[in-house]
């Protein structure tokens, strides 16, 4: 019965003169989302509103699920269009609408009419009261409540007449593409996909880098990361995933540096490499899934040690989150099941029994000197042989 969706957006409404940019980005993202759905749709922006009109038969649940992945949408209202065939006919349509959407209801309601077309024969106030009494006659169990109605019945008089009353919550945030681009360090774990999701929610486009270490990590581990990127891309749009072969660097560090510092030094090189790719791809920052104290490499000391090597801002949206909170989000965005597949990633393969938790920067720097001979060449080689996977 619904033929369109009215898209509500909250935050971008207050962006002043940039507003049209945000709205256009939102329209683009909505188009991208409905392209995944069966059927044909038209997305239009009129008078500060965005409508998604179905031009063919469509699967209601599928469209709603996909719209729920578009950042910037605060609410999705399924709309019924009726032709303007006189006020009496409108009353009948509305009775039918209520009967279908709220079968057997005894809820309170309020009618909220708006005339975009001012030549309609009744004023908004008149429509409100007339439709109110029509409904009370048809459904005696219902009652009017103008302050806190259960059902807010919207009637918009345009070329056609739009009826809607339900609002399905959207994901909020801002349309992807309005906030620049950042490079996500994506592992196969639970945290990094969530971190990417959270930053994308603020309108940021995401690229990603993954470090793999064959033969220590498998093709399946890499496929898992591609799969995770694909799940995140439902929210972020296409992701350019840069795959770096990290084996030689890792083995070299293993050979030359104290074992307890392996993870920290390794992560420092990951940050350096990620920053290099980020610069090349015009990213404005790095994103990691770190959270204070979660593991040895994420203590305040360790974070300071890994943070030191790059000048680009590092966004850590999960920094104050507990594991259970992160898992909650990963379940919501459907990455959890994939994240927990048991393939070893390159961070765990050589991990020491007792890695340092309070690395001393001076010592770390001194030990990195051991790498002087070959490390630049190895880093360059890793960058030169990087593989690009476009995930959409």
């Amino acid at each position: 019965m619904f033929t369109a969706f009215l898209i509500k957006y909250a935050e971008i409404g207050v962006k002043g003169k940039n507003r049209y940019l945000f709205e256009e980005a939102l329209v683009q993202q909505i188009k991208y989302a409905v392209r995944r759905c069966e059927g044909e749709f038209k997305v239009t922006r009129t008078q500060g509103r965005i409508y998604v009109d179905a031009l063919s038969a469509f699967d209601f649940d599928e469209v709603v699920d996909n719209l729920k992945t578009v950042f910037g949408i605060s609410g999705i209202c399924p709309v019924v269009y009726v032709e303007d065939e006189g006020f009496e006919k409108l009353g009948e349509e509305i009775i039918r609408y209520i009967g279908k959407v709220y079968p057997g209801t005894d809820k309170s309601f309020k009618v909220n009419a708006r005339r975009a077309r001012k030549n309609y024969s009744l004023t908004s106030m008149e429509i409100n009261s007339e439709i109110g009494s029509v409904l009370l006659d048809a459904y005696p169990a219902m009652k009017v409540d103008v302050h806190r109605p259960d059902i807010l019945l919207n009637i918009e008089i345009r070329e056609k007449i739009y009826i809607y009353s339900e609002t399905i919550a959207g994901p909020g945030g801002m349309p992807v593409g309005t906030g620049g681009k950042a490079m996500l360090l994506l592992s196969g774990g639970i945290d990094s996909p969530v971190a990417g999701y959270m930053i994308a929610k603020r309108g940021v486009k995401i690229d990603a880098v993954y470090f793999h270490a064959p033969p220590y990590t498998s093709e399946r581990a890499k496929q898992k990361v591609v799969d995770l990127a694909r799940l995140v891309s439902r929210y972020t749009g296409p992701i350019y995933l840069h795959v770096i072969n990290f084996t030689d660097i890792q083995l070299y560090i293993y050979e030359k540096c104290p074992h307890e510092e392996l993870t920290i030094i390794m992560r420092r090189y990951m940050m350096r490499i990620a920053e290099r790719i980020a610069e090349e791809t015009e990213c404005l920052g790095l994103i990691t899934g770190e959270s204070i104290g979660q593991v040895a490499s994420q203590t305040m000391h360790s974070l300071a040690a890994t943070n030191e090597v790059c000048t680009m801002p590092v966004y850590r949206p999960l920094i104050g989150f507990d594991k259970m909170e992160i898992i909650g989000i990963s379940e919501k965005i459907n990455t959890y099941e994939t994240s927990i597949l048991p393939y070893e990633d390159c961070c765990t393969i050589f991990v020491a029994k007792h890695p340092v938790t309070k690395p001393n920067l001076n010592i770390i720097r001194r030990h990195e000197q051991n790498l002087q001979e070959q490390i630049d060449g190895l880093v360059q080689k890793a960058l030169d042989t990087k593989e690009l996977v476009v995930v959409r």
């Binding site: 033969p215 083995l251 293993y254 048991p342 050589f350 020491a352 029994k353």
Partner: protein, 384 residues
């Protein structure tokens, strides 16, 4: 060079088998239950398959039941007979090194109120007949023992076990999971007192998704799949004619020259074992001579995780398994390796090489050379 040494996981389909199956899918595609010519034709292919396999096992074709693979054959053999015979007793016996298709089914039966004894094995992965004898009670309705172990290639004393079981209780059924043994050995159920025998097609260069269960004429079985009553009501569902006929053809081809092929496999295995033995930090699990399967070699390399060695070999186009393919994607260490007493350090450092009729001497040399190159390199970076 591409070297496929994971033949215990699955094998390459014979070209002739694939061509034969294409014909059965695209030209002779009838349903054997149909009354018309097309149906009769399809039924004839089923008859051919039954006759072929029955002849190899020296049993009656009425005793061959086609299934979706080894796992289903094991499920019918255990659950089907346990449910049909539970009034005679509620005790089952198996070994600790069975394939999950048997072990998990046994666990399911334990939940249904059956009692299961799991026989231990010796350091070479063989059960002891004394243990079997001690485990047998008057309540024992079924004993299930695998013919060839999938992880270390150990062989069980099947004929001796069969004789012992029947001597102690002629009504106790004897099931043999021969998924790894069929196609490598001549197995004659009637001479070995085997009542039920499972096999799988894709381990013998046939297609995936098909297998068979030999079930002696007098064995009572309750179906586990219900429907249109095909295969004497024992296993409903339209028969997978191309798969079944393909499996029979593959078996026919393998058994035509079995002794020669097996002889060659033992030669390759011996050569491989000698080559591997020249390396340090390496241990072969289980027996190595004629008392073991001709196609499986289990190797532990101290200090190298199996997955790492596997991927390093993969890099040289050599395909092997970590432990066994069926368990390799689960993080827990292999029950078989534990059961034969492999030390803890080596449990996760074990690789399985498995050969087939396609394996060449050149491939063995190439693989040995690859190991000589890779193992010392990987050992340098052993995890502390």
């Amino acid at each position: 060079m591409e070297v496929y040494l994971d033949n215990s996981a699955t094998t390459k389909c014979f070209d002739d088998v694939a061509a034969f199956m294409t014909q059965l899918m695209c030209r002779d595609y009838g349903n054997p239950s149909s009354l018309h010519m097309k149906g009769v034709q399809a039924e004839n292919y089923l008859r051919y398959a039954k006759e072929t396999i029955a002849k190899i096992l020296k049993v009656s074709e009425k005793e061959i039941l086609f299934t979706s693979g080894g796992t289903e054959a094991d499920n019918i053999a255990l659950t089907g007979t346990a449910m049909a015979n539970h009034r005679a007793g509620k005790h089952l016996i198996t070994t600790r090194i069975e394939h999950p298709a048997v072990l998990q089914t046994m666990q399911h039966l334990e939940e249904q109120g059956f009692k299961v004894t799991y026989l231990p094995v010796d350091g070479n992965g063989r059960i002891r007949l004394e243990d079997l004898q001690k485990a047998m009670t008057k309540d024992t309705i079924l004993v299930s023992v695998m013919h060839t172990n999938n992880e270390i290639g150990s062989l069980q004393p099947i004929a001796e076990a069969g004789a012992l079981i029947k001597k102690m209780n002629p009504h106790t059924l004897f099931h043999v999971d021969a998924v790894q043994g069929f196609g490598k050995f001549r197995i004659y159920p009637k001479k070995m007192n085997i009542d039920l025998l499972s096999a799988s097609s894709h381990k013998i260069h046939g297609p995936k998704g098909v297998g068979f269960l030999y079930a002696g004429e007098k064995v009572k079985i309750k179906p586990i799949i219900y429907g249109g009553g095909q295969q004497n009501n024992l296993r409903s569902g339209t028969e997978n004619v191309p798969g079944i006929a393909g499996m029979a053809k593959a078996a026919e081809m393998l058994y035509a020259d079995l002794e020669r092929d097996v002889e060659r496999l033992y030669y390759l295995k011996q050569k491989f074992i000698e080559g591997v033995g020249r390396m340090e930090y390496v241990k072969i699990n289980g027996l190595t001579g004629r008392e073991s399967a001709p196609h499986v070699v289990s190797v532990s390399v101290r200090g190298i995780r199996s997955e790492v060695l596997l991927h390093a070999l993969e890099d040289k186009n050599i395909y092997v398994s970590a432990g066994s393919a069926c368990a390799a994607r689960k993080p827990q260490p292999s029950a078989t390796l534990k059961a034969i007493g492999v030390e803890k350090d080596l449990l996760e450092s074990t690789i399985r090489f498995s050969f087939s009729v396609f394996t060449t001497e050149e491939e063995i040399d190439y693989t040995l050379q690859a190991l000589y190159d890779i193992v010392p390199m990987l050992r340098k970076y052993t995890r502390h």
